[in-house]
Amino acid sequence: MDKSQLLLWVGIGLFAIGLVGVMIRRNALVMLMCMELMLNGVILSLVTFSQRTATLSGAVLVFLIFVVAAAEIAIAIPIVLLLSRQRRTLDVEAYSSLKG
């Protein structure tokens, strides 16, 4: 198994852990962290592929994703904060007033 294949497996692992976390945990903050994990798995595979094909555009895209992820989390955290202030809980089950 060469190095890039290993890195890809690590990326897939990160993504899978994040996905499972999002699907089974109910704490909103933990879910956000798991989402970051998934994102990182994707970024890792992106960097690996860009190394392998020796193109720069993959690396540039990674920086773009960092910026976007930072912006996204900067909005997501305050939303979670406001929600928890309202209901005094981080359990997402408590926020289901829009269900059909």
């Binding site: 999002v22 699907m23 879910m31 997402v92 289901s96 007033s97 829009l98 059909g100």
Partner: protein, 626 residues
């Protein structure tokens, strides 16, 4: 100066001023505008008439007021055409129209909608002038529809009364039937001749090579239109009901001018009818039938205005008989005398109704001759004129019609003459019956009403006097000769010439017989008439119910149409098909949404699962399909 355009525009200005400003500026303003502008139009018409006469009378005035539309090399102009026929019509319309406007200032004095009344009346004059002055059939048609509108508005003038509003609707809808025929005739003419200008249509039909269209078909289609407007059988039912309008309106629109539009149309397009003997026969038969039918109904009517309405129908029938036998000028002659004496009769009836505070039943009148002498004298003159007593106007025109009905080489026959003579007898009878019952027999009024009887003011009685004088002397103007180069006269069948004098004497005898009969039966009051009615009960009932025409129409036309509309169009079409499909679609969407909303469980984890499942499904599908 565009005099013809001015004639037409003046009443329109009156309509706009009275309609927009009238209610704010008060009655003096409304009266001044409402009467002043028609009088100015009359003066302008006189001026035009003198211009035409000055140039020998052969050359018509033609004015193009406006280019309406141009398609390729064909253009539609709003053009006015003023020859002797238009001149006679325009002078009648503006002259009698102005008189009736003046009369209305007295009759409608206390009506709260005074300005609206004059606005409508001016609007009517505008459209009527468009009708008689238009050179193109298209302009004529605009006027034709416009007078129908004005008639509708004025019949339903007191629209708070549902019966009167319904009478207006009846007039409008019945006229639509005729208008359909008119329009089809219009299309046919335009399709074959490529022009709608009436003088060109006439010359096209009078040219050596006839146009490639059946003159009879065109003639009958246009006659259907004329039938609607001039209330001939079978489209006559609206005219008696139209008496729901104010009495001056009945005089102007439903006696003197608008209902004669059909006569004008046929006379104007005589080029077509000269080549359409079948259509001419139809016209003569319909005219004779209407004349006879209406006169017989008028004999038993008890409402003063209804008697006059049926009398109008009957006189219009006479005009169509004249048209049908090719005596176009004679028809216009009768139109002209009829305008005077019938307007005088209606306005006299208005004066009686005014004096009696709204009473219209002649069984509750009587003895008015001494109380309202001016009305009585003028009414008597007009009655004698319509009955055909010489030397009043009606005698000349009616006698000429009977003569041509007898002798014309194109369609005249003794039978037509006989029907016309019987009608003349009935006319004389019912008119003198009306005169005696209203004015001469002992009073049958209640004390209360009798106490308030008063002669009408000068603006009403003056108009009556003018019209009575015109009804007396109008017959001395030889209209048929005057119009001869516009409206050719039918030739009498050769060997019949020596019948002319005996027939003339006979028609005088007929008129006097009617007079004598009326005096015999109604000279002392109602009693003898009631005895007769009791003896001929069946006939009397048939006539009082106007031959059950309204009932037949209701059973044959209204009921089936109502059933189809209610059950099929409303029940099946509207409620079942349209409402059903829309409601069904809405219900489907609602139910589907109800099912789908169960997916929204409120559990974030479930949503994620769905999203992941979807993404995985997409990936697998893409992988499978390369």
């Amino acid at each position: 100066m565009n005099l013809l355009t001015v004639i037409v525009i003046l009443p329109l200005v009156g309509f706009l001023l009275n309609g927009l400003l009238g209610p704010r500026l008060g009655k003096p303003f409304v009266s001044a505008v409402g009467c002043g502008l028609p009088i100015l139009a009359f003066l302008a018409a006189v001026r035009c008439f003198l211009l035409v006469q000055g140039s020998g009378g052969e050359q018509p005035l033609v004015e193009v007021a406006y280019n309406w539309a141009t398609f390729g090399d064909r253009s539609f102009d709003i053009a006015f055409y003023f020859d002797r026929l238009s001149a006679v019509m325009t002078l009648i319309v503006t002259g009698v129209g102005s008189l009736i406007h003046v009369y209305s200032t007295g009759y409608m004095k206390d009506d709260p909608s005074y300005a609206r009344y004059f606005a409508y009346l001016n609007l009517f004059l505008f459209f009527m002038l468009l009708l008689v002055l238009g050179r193109s059939l298209l302009v004529c048609f605009v006027g034709w529809e416009g007078v129908g509108l004005a008639s509708y508005l004025l019949i339903g003038f007191w629209f708070e009364d549902p019966e009167k509003a319904a009478a207006g609707k009846k007039a409008f809808i019945t006229n639509r039937v005729g208008d359909a025929g008119f329009l089809l005739g219009l299309f046919l003419i335009y399709h074959t001749l490529g022009t709608l200008e009436m003088d060109r249509i006439n010359s096209a039909f009078l040219a050596p090579t006839l146009p490639a269209v059946s003159a009879s078909l065109v003639g009958i289609l246009l006659f259907i239109g004329a039938c609607g407007k001039s209330a001939q059988i079978p489209l006559h039912v609206w005219l008696p009901d139209a008496m729901a309008g104010p009495t001056p309106v009945s005089a102007l629109i439903h006696a003197a001018t608008m209902v004669t539009a059909g006569v004008y149309l046929v006379a104007r397009l005589n080029g077509i009818y000269q080549h359409a003997p079948e259509a001419s026969h139809v016209i003569a038969i319909v005219g004779a039938a209407t004349a006879f039918f209406a006169a017989s109904v008028a004999v038993v009517q008890t409402d003063i205005k209804k008697v006059l309405a049926y009398s109008t129908l009957s006189q219009l029938g006479y005009m169509f008989v004249a048209l049908g036998v090719g005596a176009y000028g004679v028809a216009v002659f009768h139109l002209y005398t009829h305008a005077f004496f019938k307007a005088c009769l209606f306005l006299g009836a208005g004066s009686v109704i005014h004096a009696l505070g709204g009473e219209q039943d002649i069984r509750k009148m009587g003895g008015l001759a001494k109380k309202i002498p001016i009305t009585f004298v003028t009414f008597a003159v007009a009655t004698a004129a319509i009955a055909g007593i010489p030397p009043l106007a009606g005698f000349f025109s009616k006698d000429e019609i009977l003569w041509f009905a007898f002798s014309s080489a194109t369609g005249g026959s003794p039978l037509l003459w006989a029907i016309g003579s019987i009608t003349a007898l009935m006319t004389s009878f019912y008119m003198f019956r009306l005169l005696w019952l209203t004015f001469l027999t002992p009073s049958r009024m209640s004390q209360e009403v009798e106490h308030h009887v008063h002669e009408s003011p000068l603006n009403m009685s003056g108009v009556l006097i003018v019209l009575a004088v015109l009804s007396a002397v109008g017959g001395f103007v030889k209209i048929p000769d005057f119009l001869e180069h516009v409206l050719p006269l039918a030739r009498a069948g050769g060997e019949l010439e020596h019948f002319e004098m005996p027939l003339l004497v006979f028609s005088v005898i007929v008129a006097l017989t009617g007079l004598a009969g009326a005096i015999m039966v109604y000279g002392k009051g109602l009693a003898k008439g009631e005895v007769l009615a009791a003896r001929f009960q069946g006939l009397h009932r048939l006539l009082s119910n106007k031959y059950y025409v309204d009932e037949i129409y209701e059973a044959c036309l209204y009921r089936p149409l109502h059933w189809v509309s209610d059950r099929i169009f409303l029940g099946v079409g509207d409620r079942f098909l349209i409402d059903g499909s829309l409601n069904g679609m809405a219900a489907l969407a609602q139910r589907a949404a109800g099912r789908l909303s169960r997916v929204e469980t409120g559990s974030l984890q479930f949503y994620v699962l769905l999203a992941v499942g979807g993404a995985a499904g997409c990936l697998i599908w893409m992988w499978r399909h390369g």
